[in-house]
């Protein structure tokens, strides 16, 4: 059975071009870039090249790129650095729908005496900018607002949020793990101080990330050790990973247009067809500005894990915000923050595409999913086909 991979917000395949670029550094070119001899030095050169490739995708300069081990490390570094460099400030502004890398860290920080303000979102997942403005105080050490939401693809106005923070002398960080490579980013023109990237979300391997740190930003390292990354992140470089990520950023720049035309068209078709073929379904965040590759659809009166496992029978990979798949007993914090009713939240399915998806795959999903929902609804005690017209109003 062929795998139909539509879970690209979870992770992506390594682009063949990326793998090819990496392989020599996993085989013969194993030198340490810090070494004095040219066997190591040649690896150092490739890392500098990768730094340029990443900087080009972000509209940044090379000194502003710090390689890390993952998006979570980048997020942790940014927030902890802000607290450490502004010792008298203990307030953090973030959102209710952040990735756990930010959300759980902030929960932890409350135990260490920090005050956290989580900005709410509306029913479409849009950020409450008035509340955001009000919550920036002289005590605020950092505002950390994700660029695009991993579950719904909803894009936040981070450029505007960053300006508001800067006007008040507050550092601004954004978790851009889902946005980078999918929408154009130009940090030259923005007030963003720090930005996190994860390699494996844009066709580079797992185990490599980036923290962008604007020139002039006060910074305290998270991982303390050697002089690597200009003293901002100790630890011998993940050379192959970094070189792969550089190549992936170059590819992403080339493919940005395809992502926003062909991939977007695939997503739109998928969404439109599923909504029209399955009654009592809706798109979560459909009314907001969204990433071109993501759709989050709720199928009322059925449960997400059951949907995913039946999709798995056809080789279709997706994820769900239902309780049983969230690893807890409650549906996704993102859907709850949006006020998605329980009848809908438990039956949510996220499909996230990439440039590797094809028309045929989209057709296959459109063909299979409606019968899966029908099968589960057939024995759902809440599914009363004749009464649905009324119930769907809830």
């Amino acid at each position: 059975m062929k795998t139909i991979y539509m879970d690209n917000n979870a992770t992506t395949r390594i682009a063949p071009e990326v793998l090819e670029t990496m392989l020599p550094y996993l085989k013969d070119l194993y030198g340490n870039p810090s070494s004095a001899y040219s066997f190591g030095g040649q690896v150092g050169r490739e890392i500098r090249n990768a730094r340029e490739q990443v900087a080009a995708l972000l509209g940044a300069s090379v000194e502003e790129i710090v390689f890390t081990s993952c998006g979570s490390e980048s997020d942790n570094t940014a927030i902890l650095s802000a607290l450490q460099t502004a010792k008298d400030k203990t307030h953090i502004v973030t959102t209710r729908v952040e990735h756990p890398a930010v959300k759980v860290l902030c929960n932890e920080l409350t135990k260490r005496g920090c005050r956290i303000t989580e900005i709410p979102v509306d029913r479409e997942g849009r950020l409450d900018m008035d509340r955001y403005k009000e919550s920036l105080t002289p005590d605020t050490a950092i505002a950390s607002i994700m660029w695009a939401n991993n579950e719904t693809g909803v894009i936040f106005p981070v450029e505007e949020a960053a300006k508001l923070a800067r006007n008040r002398g507050i550092l601004f960080h954004t978790d851009a793990v889902q946005a980078v490579g999918k929408i154009p980013i130009d940090l030259q023109e923005s007030a963003i101080d720090m930005l996190s990237i994860s390699g494996h979300k844009l066709h580079a391997p797992k185990g490599v990330g980036v923290l962008y740190v604007r020139k002039g930003t006060k910074f305290a390292p998270f991982l303390i050790g050697g002089h690597q990354e200009g003293g901002r992140r100790g630890g011998t470089e993940n050379t192959a990973g970094i070189i792969g990520l550089g190549r992936a950023c170059e590819l992403a720049l080339d493919r940005m247009e395809e992502e926003n035309t062909r991939v977007k068209a695939l997503r739109d078709r998928l969404e439109k067809e599923l909504l029209s073929r399955v009654t009592n379904s809706r798109v979560n965040g459909g009314g907001a500005e969204r990433l071109p590759n993501t759709t989050n659809i709720s199928f009322e009166f059925v449960e997400g894990e059951a949907i995913l496992l039946l999709m798995d029978e056809f080789g279709i990979c997706a994820s769900s915000g239902s309780a049983c798949t969230s690893g807890s007993l409650q549906p996704s914090h993102v859907l709850r923050a949006m006020g998605v009713p329980f009848t809908m939240a438990h039956g949510s399915v996220r499909l996230s595409l990439s440039v590797y998806n094809t028309d045929e795959e989209v057709e296959a999903v459109i063909d299979k999913v409606p019968s899966i929902i029908e099968k589960l609804r057939a024995f759902s005690p809440f599914w009363k086909p004749e009464a649905q017209a009324c119930a769907s109003g809830t």
């Binding site: 009166f301 449960e303 997400g304 239902s322 438990h346 024995f379």
Partner: protein, 274 residues
């Protein structure tokens, strides 16, 4: 992804007895959409008290569907008396086991069965017994105590796995700890080995060292064992705990609860100046 047995997968993919029994005379409905799973069990019991037909409707994950399918298979052909003896563990065993986080699916089956049997016997659908402990999932103390007793549960996490209680806002965790201690105490005389004083002190020291002090130290606090007199554990607070207004709460809700859980259910913790 959950590790399901082949039997769970098979029952999920091909559920037996899904649907409605039109002339059912024993119907049990439990769970709700807000909780994330719900089960309606429909039985037709003949005049001799034998279950002729069993069907279900369910809203839930793969293991909820498989548990319902398994339960109906187990019920068909059984007398009501035999059916009454089916426990949630029997349902899980029939499926070759369930992931521990999914045991509540088997408990849901058992609850639906109880509810169907009382419906058949003409008893009004059981009024909710006991007090709600877990507000998030509407679980009562009676339900939690029953699960603790029947499955010999010892930690909050296990109670959550079996009943869902405590899986939401976590505000009821202390209450669940107390219920565990209470049930343990009731059952203690038969099961509990006698501890010598030296054993007791050793266990208290170990528990303090392994389970309690690391958490307190995270918050800048600490605690020292001063003495143990009978079931009275005398301690002195250090660091942040010594000046913290909430330290009294920490002592009873955390230190005492933990010592009761790990060492001896009748221990009381007292603070002494040092």
């Amino acid at each position: 992804m959950w590790e399901y047995t082949d039997k769970v997968k098979e029952h999920f993919l091909n559920p037996r007895n899904a649907g409605e029994v039109k002339d059912a005379n024993a119907v049990g409905e439990v769970g709700s959409m807000a909780c994330g799973d719900a089960l309606k069990l429909m039985l037709k019991v003949d005049d001799s008290g034998k279950i002729e037909e069993a069907k279900f409707q369910t809203f839930g994950c793969a293991s909820a569907i498989a548990s319902a399918s398994a339960l109906t298979e187990m019920l068909k052909g059984k007398s009501l008396e035999e059916a009454e003896n089916i426990s949630n563990q029997d349902i899980a065993d029939y499926l070759g086991g369930l992931p521990k986080e999914k045991m509540h699916c088997s408990v849901l089956g058992r609850q639906a069965l109880e509810s169907a049997i009382s419906h058949y016997k003409g008893q009004a659908p059981k009024e909710q017994e006991g007090e709600i402990v877990c507000e998030c999932f509407g679980v009562t103390d009676k339900e939690i105590e029953k699960a603790i007793r029947e499955n010999n549960l010892a930690t909050v996490e296990e109670v959550t796995n079996y009943t869902k209680a405590g899986g939401g806002c976590e505000n009821c965790h202390d209450a669940i700890r107390e219920l565990i201690a209470r049930v343990r105490e009731e059952e203690a005389p038969a099961k509990r080995p006698k501890l010598s004083n030296i054993q007791k002190i050793k266990m208290i020291e170990e528990t303090l060292e392994r389970e309690i002090r690391p958490s307190l130290q995270q918050d800048g606090g600490d605690i020292d064992l001063v003495d143990v007199i009978g079931n009275r554990v005398l301690v002195a607070s250090r660091g942040a705990c010594a000046v913290c207004k909430a330290s009294e709460l920490t002592l009873t809700n955390f230190v005492q609860a933990k010592l009761r859980e790990m060492v001896w259910p009748e221990l009381t913790v007292e603070e002494v100046p040092q």
